[in-house]
Each structure stands twice: as C-alpha cells, then as structure tokens.
C-alpha cells in the first residue's frame, strides 16, 4: 500500500459510506463509475464482485499491485446503470444476474438474454422493490454458429455422472470443439432472497449451504463479514481453529479432485487411492469437529466446537498417513506416460485471459496469477504461518494437477503448524452489538478460489442484504475458452481440472 493506490485515490473522490468495514465503500457519480470501469478494462484493477440492490449496484475491485480492495456503489434512481460488461466482459454474467434479480436495466448491455431466470419462477425480479409477474421468456437463444461441417452436442442439465446440473452446448467440427456455450442457473435456489431479514444464525446456516464442498470457506467469509460489520474481535484460538478447518477442506477437495481428474483420463487406480485418503480426511474432520464436511462448525463470533484430544490425535495420524501414502501417488502421476499424454497441453487457457477475468484459485495459479486471499488481503492466522503459494505458467490440465498436489503438501504443513501452535483461550464469544446498522465484507481463500461475502445488518441485528460471490463466476467463462480446439472426449478432463461450482454460481 506504500506505493500509493490509484484505486484508493479514485474511490476517495466518491462519498465514503460510514460504518462499512474493513475496506472503503464509496457512493460514486456516473462519471467516476465510468472511470472505474475504464480501470477494469485497462487492467489497472480486477473485478472482485458485482451485485445489486433494489436501487443501486455495487462493484468490488481489487488493485493487486498495491493490495487495495474497495467497493464502488452507484445509485440507480431511474432503474438503470451503465453496463460494465460493455467494456469489461468478465462482468457479463454478473450483470445479467443483476438484471434478472432486481429488474434494473444495464443500458448499452452487450447481451440482453436472461441468465438465472429461466421463465420458471412464479414471479419476476424477485429482489426488486416490487416484483413483477412471471416473465414469459422465449426459448433460450444460443449464440449463432456458422461454418461448414459443424454439428452440435447438447449436454445436460441432467449429466451422466453424479454431478450438479447445467447445460453445455458444444459445437464441434469432427472431434474438435469450436465453441462451447454454457447455460447455468438450474440450481438457483433464491438464497439471496432467503437471506433478507434472516437472523444471523439462520443466515449462517444458509451461507454454509451455498456450495457444500466449500462450506467452511463460505462460513468463514460470512463470519468475518459479520464480525467486521459489528466490530467484533474473536479469540486467537478461534482464528487458528478456523484455519484448521479451512485447510482440512482444502486437503479433502484437492485430494478428491486429483483422483477424479486422473479417473477422467481412464486411470481409475488414482481415484481409488485418493478416494481412500479423502475419506480419511472426512473421518478425521468428523472426529475432530463433529461433521464430515465441517458444516456449521464456523459461526459468527468464533467456532462451534473445540478440538478434543482424540480429535487432535486423529489429525496427527492423518498427517502421518498422508505423508506416507501421498508421495507414491505423486510419483505414479509423474511417471505414467499414458496419463501425462492426456493432461499435458490439454485445456490451455491464455494467461492474459486469466488476468483479465481476475480468475482465482487453482486455475489462476496454474496460469501465472499468484493471487491467494490468504496473502492478499490476508487474514489471521496466516500471517503467523509459513506456507508457499505455488504458481505455474503452463495453464493446462497438467499444471492444474500440479498446483493441487503442491497445495496438498502446503495444507499438510499448515495443519501441522496449526496443531503445534494452537493458542489457548475461548473458542467463541458474543457479537459486539451496534445500535446503528453496519456493513461488512470479507474475502477468504476456499479450495476453489477467493470467496467474497458482503452484507449489511439491520439495526435489530438481522440481515438487510447479503451477497456471497463464488470464485466460479470468473472461472466458468474460461472453461469455454479452455475447451476450444480440444477434442470432445477431453471435455470431462478439462471440466474436472476446473471443478467449478454450479450451486455457488447459481445461488
């Protein structure tokens, strides 16, 4: 932050909002809004989030060079806002979602098709001040594809495996995919609507179910946002236990993904071994905190349960077992030519695209973008722990496998450090109440990438508005780019190496 932040300077020209913590939120003029969008398009900062309210839209921005994060808000008195997607394509789906949910119009928008609204809800614009009647929507118009000898393959929403629903429209020339167009929104549950007016306890349960595989990351982001809004300090022990849970979640998911990616290259042996290791993580998690996926274990104010001596023993055994069993699996991956043949150079994403989309997580770090929310903005206790953020440049399936492998090793080391240095103290405290409404925001690193939660509290302590933003918003579009010119049969491999969330995206 010492080198002077252009973002901070830009936002200070707006009207800062009192009671928003920990970053600046400023209400900006249309002219300043325009400048901020120019900054996005020019790559001065990246898009961290974009969400609506009945009468306003909010842009969360991140200036990586200076480590500045901030939020710009634009009032929409006439129900319109200037399109962000027009100049910065990564905002496109978020913008279409704002239109569907709030009925605000993005003037000059490049794509007017609805995104989350499939014409199946009983009402239109569910989060607007006044809802409309159900929208009669024409059949979804997929983008036109022209050329000789092309054929289309529609896939989903019900997929062949045990996975979430979504629709993929492939256009192929022979075996080569020339275009993939995704259509999502099938698992839209109306979570943001349920969050309005919810008590903090109920909201925490809902947030923990935005994306089940990232329940710890979401619960952590939500808890941190609540604590920011209420100026609550939690104990060191609670910080450390939260990190312990977050690393267990990362370990379980990376391990499962490693096996599943190899399985999609017809190498079932890896899935079998990784499946056993993953199960052991879940069992140790249950022994430690009482839930296999650690749902509802992080609560605003601290954590729900302390680690028992038996739980700690289970975790230490888990680490020892991983250290024994995981290296042979890495060797196996590294020395199996038939497997490498499928993963090396498959599903390449241009690093420039990764940077433009502000794509986080494994996909970003496998393509040269070193962003990790544990480092920037950073949060306790990671400033007291030693860990590396592995970054590769190849940006293919193989690189995404290797980043996961390296992150498994880092998580093992982190879990060990957390167990060794666990400070004493209470694990949960009361929230510091405020008479006035407060606003909070938090960014945390889940296994999939950075999870953003922004919220505003009412005076009575209920949730006025809460928006969780999944890392998948900036990853799904890149999958469309990754599959281009790959063969259809490599799609499962590319898709699994991304492992984007449907539920987290659809909300």
């Amino acid at each position: 932050m010492s080198d002077g932040s252009k973002l901070q300077a830009a936002l200070s020209a707006g009207q800062p909002v009192a009671g928003h913590r920990p970053w600046t939120r400023a209400v900006v003029s249309p002219a300043l809004w325009h400048d901020l969008i120019q900054g996005l398009a020019g790559g001065t900062w990246s898009l961290l989030g974009f969400w609506g309210e009945p009468d306003a839209v909010h842009l969360a921005l991140c200036e990586e060079s200076s480590g500045t994060l901030g939020i710009a808000s634009l009032a929409c008195p006439d129900g319109q806002f200037p399109s962000v997607a027009r100049r910065h394509p990564p905002a496109q789906r978020l913008e279409r979602a704002i239109v569907d949910l709030f009925g605000l119009q993005a003037s000059d928008a490049p794509d007017h098709r609805p995104w989350l609204d499939h014409g199946r809800w009983p009402l239109a614009y569910p989060l607007a001040e006044t809802q409309g009647r159900r929208r009669e929507l024409p059949p979804y118009a997929f983008l036109p594809v022209e050329g000789e000898s092309l054929h289309q393959i529609p896939v989903g929403p019900v997929h062949a495996g045990i996975i979430e629903p979504g629709h993929f429209r492939f256009t192929a020339n022979g075996e080569a995919v020339v275009r993939l167009e995704q259509r999502l929104g099938y698992v839209h549950k109306g979570i943001e609507s349920l969050l309005r007016g919810a008590s903090v306890e109920r909201a925490a349960r809902l947030i923990g179910r935005v994306s089940g595989d990232s329940t710890v990351a979401y619960a952590l982001a939500f808890a941190r946002a609540i604590e920011a809004a209420t100026e609550t300090e939690i104990s060191d022990r609670a910080h450390w236990l939260r990190a312990l849970m977050a690393e267990l979640e990362r370990l379980a998911n990376h391990c499962g993904d490693f096996g599943a990616i190899c399985n999609d290259a017809a190498f079932a042996l890896m899935l079998a071994h990784c499946g056993v290791l993953r199960e052991k993580v879940l069992r140790a998690s249950a022994a430690c905190f009482g839930h296999r996926l650690l749902m509802d274990c992080i609560v605003p104010g601290g954590v729900g349960a302390d680690v028992s001596p038996e739980g700690e023993k289970a975790l230490r055994e888990l680490i020892a077992e991983f250290r024994r069993r995981f290296p042979p699996l890495i060797d196996l991956y590294d020395s199996t030519a038939s497997l490498q043949d499928r993963t090396v150079s498959t599903g390449f994403v241009r690093p420039a695209l990764i940077k433009q989309f502000g794509c986080g997580g494994v996909i970003g770090r496998a393509g040269g973008r070193a962003f990790d929310a544990r480092r920037q903005p950073g949060y306790p206790p990671y400033d007291q722990l030693e860990f590396k953020v592995p970054v590769l440049a190849d940006s293919d399936v193989n690189a995404r496998v290797w980043v996961r492998i390296r992150e498994v090793e880092q998580s093992l080391s982190l879990i060990e450090q957390l167990l060794n240095g666990l400070p004493a103290g209470p694990v949960r405290g009361a929230l510091h109440r405020l008479e006035q409404a407060g606003e909070g925001v938090a960014l945390v690193e889940g296994f999939r990438g950075d999870v953003l939660v922004w919220l505003r509290l009412n005076v009575d302590g209920t949730i006025a508005r809460c928006h969780p933003r999944d890392p998948s918003w900036f990853q799904w579009p890149l999958l469309e780019a990754a599959i281009e010119n790959n063969i259809v049969a490599d799609f499962p491999l590319c898709n699994k190496s991304f492992n984007c969330s449907y539920s987290g995206h659809d909300l």
Binding site: V158, P165, Y186, L194, G275
Partner: protein, 170 residues
C-alpha cells in the same frame, strides 16, 4: 505402480462391514413395494442420481459410497449414466423451479418398475431453502417418492442403510 498394486494385494481390505438396513426406512418401504417387483429385480439395482438443486453436499457423500470403505457395488447397486438404464432415481435438493422439468423428464424416461429415493433434508421438504420463490420444496412435490434418507448431508453409512432397506424390499 507395481509396488502400489502389490501393497494393495497384501493389505487387508478397508471395506467396512455392511450396516443393518434402517428400520425406519424398512417401515416406510414395506407399505409401498409390491411382491411382483421384488421377483423381477432380484438383488441388482441400477441407480441414476439426479441433482435437483442441491448444494452439492449430498453429491459428495453419494460419491463416497463408491470409495473402498463403503464399496456400494458389492451389494449389487451401481450408478448408471442414463435414466433409461435405471431402476432407482436418487434425487437430491429442494427441487428448484429451474430443475423441475429436468426432474420430471428424467422420471418419465425411467422404465417401470422404478423407485425414487429422496436424499437429504432438502429432498424431504426443501430444508433450509423452504419458502423460496425459486424452490418447489421437496422431491415429493414433483414425483412420487418411495423413501426419504434424511441428513444434511446424510453420511455414507446412513445412505447405505437406506439403500439396503430398499434392496430388501425391492
């Protein structure tokens, strides 16, 4: 790879002993499953999993049924890619409005005799998502359900107990 395979041959299996079928599930099924269907299917059931709006938590635990500890296939269950090959639809989620038709069409594409198992608290009545404009609220609001396996998400043992009860009845 040889070393890994050899180790696997020498070590004892990880697979846990089969749990007893859930009593509650048996009771729910007893009233629903006919004798004719039992004779037709024997002890093999093909399962088609349908996510009708889940948070993906149930899917993770359903996946775990295939790992070496639970080894679902030893009981004659196997997951299939098409509803046309399925005897059982294993449905998760509060059934979103946007997935309703997908679920109905999957059910219609599944040949008789067929069973529907609703998995998770959402599958029963919408769970935490009950009351949302975007959710229909429980699998039975859309298609007939033969068995509910509660939990958020149900762990693999609970899933196994429910499915074994189905197998005994089917």
């Amino acid at each position: 790879m040889r070393k890994l395979l050899l180790q696997s041959l020498l070590q004892r299996p990880l697979t846990v002993a089969a749990p007893a079928p859930s009593e509650q599930a048996l009771a729910e099924l007893a009233s629903k499953v006919g004798q004719a269907a039992r004779r037709r299917l024997g002890r093999s059931l093909a399962i088609r999993e349908v996510d009708a709006g889940s948070c993906n938590g149930c899917e993770l635990e359903i996946h775990a049924l295939n790992n070496a500890f639970y080894d679902l296939e030893r009981f004659g269950f196997h997951f299939v890619a098409s509803p046309r090959h399925a005897d059982v639809l294993l449905v998760t989620g509060p059934v979103t409005a946007n997935m309703r038709e997908g679920l109905e069409r999957t059910y219609a594409a599944t040949p008789d005799p067929k069973w529907v198992v609703a998995v998770g608290d959402c599958g029963r009545d919408g769970g935490v998502f009950d009351g949302s404009y975007a959710c229909v609220g429980g699998v039975s609001a859309v298609i007939p359900v033969d068995l509910h396996i509660p939990g958020c998400p149900p762990d693999p043992m609970r899933l196994l107990q429910g499915l074994l009860a189905l197998l005994r009845s089917a």
